[in-house]
């Protein structure tokens, strides 16, 4: 190529610039690095996010705050506390007792994963971890029900205590199902909503059954 031999980069124009590609969103992390902040700030920020989500579950309005910033701390804490509270059930032999810790853990997490896969396979637009986050946080009313049941059982285990426990568990089961449906229903195609809501109903029904049938030694 004879014409190109006299093309040259001038030596006195410095070539400079930034190699790093600027990220699209300007999160506050860009202005100051979170590496230097005190540990307490980091923990408090995450705790506040988890706390805000708990409040959202208590009063389920149609908001997408729960969906946008998902985290799995809340579901983990709820699942572990529920599984711990379901321990100490009566058992004559090992085979007849209530669910063990591992069984509760597996049912909650495996059930949430299966429901998420189900909703995604049916054409839902929600992401995998967002759905896990919502289903896990909506276990909170049932954890509260478990706490109430244990307290009621401390007072006595007759018919009246059973009726109180039944009412509490039913109310919390309805609350959990309605809360999670309020969050998840919008991400489904409209002619398949019932197909997605039914497994959620079954999931919370099984957890409610485990809570209601808990009998202490």
């Amino acid at each position: 190529f004879p014409d190109l031999t006299d093309v040259s980069i001038s030596e006195d124009i410095p070539v400079e610039g930034e190699i790093t590609v600027p990220v699209g969103s300007h999160s506050p992390d860009e202005e100051f690095s979170t590496l230097d902040e005190p540990v307490r700030d980091t923990i408090m920020r995450d705790l506040k996010a988890v706390g805000k989500k708990f409040v959202h579950v208590m009063y389920p309005k149609k908001s997408s705050a729960l969906l946008r910033d998902w985290d799995l701390w809340g579901p983990l804490v709820l699942c572990v506390s529920l599984a711990l509270m379901l321990q100490g059930g009566s058992a004559d032999s090992k085979d007849d007792g209530g669910p063990q810790f591992a069984e509760v853990f597996v049912i909650i997490w495996f059930g949430a994963v299966v429901i998420t896969l189900n909703s995604k396979l049916l054409g839902g637009t929600i992401s995998f971890f967002q759905s896990l986050c919502v289903l896990g946080y909506c276990v909170m009313p049932l954890t509260v029900a478990m706490l109430v049941c244990r307290l009621v059982l401390l007072a006595g285990s007759g018919t009246i205590s059973f009726i109180i426990r039944l009412i509490v568990v039913l109310a919390m089961f309805g609350w959990s199902t309605l809360a999670s449906t309020a969050f998840l229903a919008d991400s489904q195609p409209p002619n398949r909503k019932a197909l997605v809501v039914y497994p959620i109903f079954l999931f919370y029904f099984v957890i409610s059954w485990m809570i209601l049938t808990f009998t202490p030694q």
Partner: protein, 296 residues
Amino acid sequence: FAEFDDAANLLAANPDATTISIDEPVEIPKNQHSRLQEPGREEDDELLGTDDSDKTELLAGQKKSAPFWTFDYYQTFFDVDTYQVLDRIKGSVFPVPGKNFVRLYIRSNPDLYGPFWICATLVFTIAVSGNLSNFFIHLGKPTYHYVPEFRKVSIAATTIYAYAWLVPLALWGFLMWRNSKVMNIVSYSFLEIVCVYGYSLFIYIPTAILWIIPQEVVRWVLMIFSLCLSGSVLVMTFWPAVRDDNRRVALVTVGTIVLLHALLSVGCLAYFFDAPEVEVPAPIIPTQNATVITKS
């Protein structure tokens, strides 16, 4: 089914054209929703079902074009709407004599939603109902202490999922083997067989709930009733697939299907539901008193 109409029209116009199906999971349900508002849809479905099965077979082959390691491949098995699932359940509970469940309802769109969630519901229904019925049977006894019997859930899950998946696998293998020997007009894919078995188990869900009633006669009547209903769905589905075969082989196949189905229901009733106690007849006590009085 609107997709089949369009693709069928295109194929009829241009039979040599290669068609590429691009799965757009978000848009397809919306399209179906807008198109399915047309009235007279049910009549179209009937015609399509009794039409030449070549077209539906061709389109069925086109549907599953994504490789099996992608998510879209499995999404094709969940391409059902609420009303379709409800229709299939209705078809399994009210079998129409002479009409084939697969041809009438599945129609080359087998889904995994129904079999999977019907089995899950059945597992928990049997476990919960068994627990409740045992509670009511033993309620008055002073030595009875309620236990949740949670282990039975895993046993129920293993049994029912094994039945709903391994028996169709064995049946499919057997039918494929017979197909290689005898030319059968009707043949089913593995997923269609899984679908039939899954939906035929639906009748056991209300049956399990009604089995809480602690009367032996009532339970057996319920069991025979549900066995007849779901067994007839299975028989009417699989009889056309084996009737061209050797008479004995056909009868043994259909007999085995019904036998396994009966074994499942009898086994569930026997294992999860304790037998209700028989009342001790009252007249024994007065005669003992009479003998005591005469002796003294």
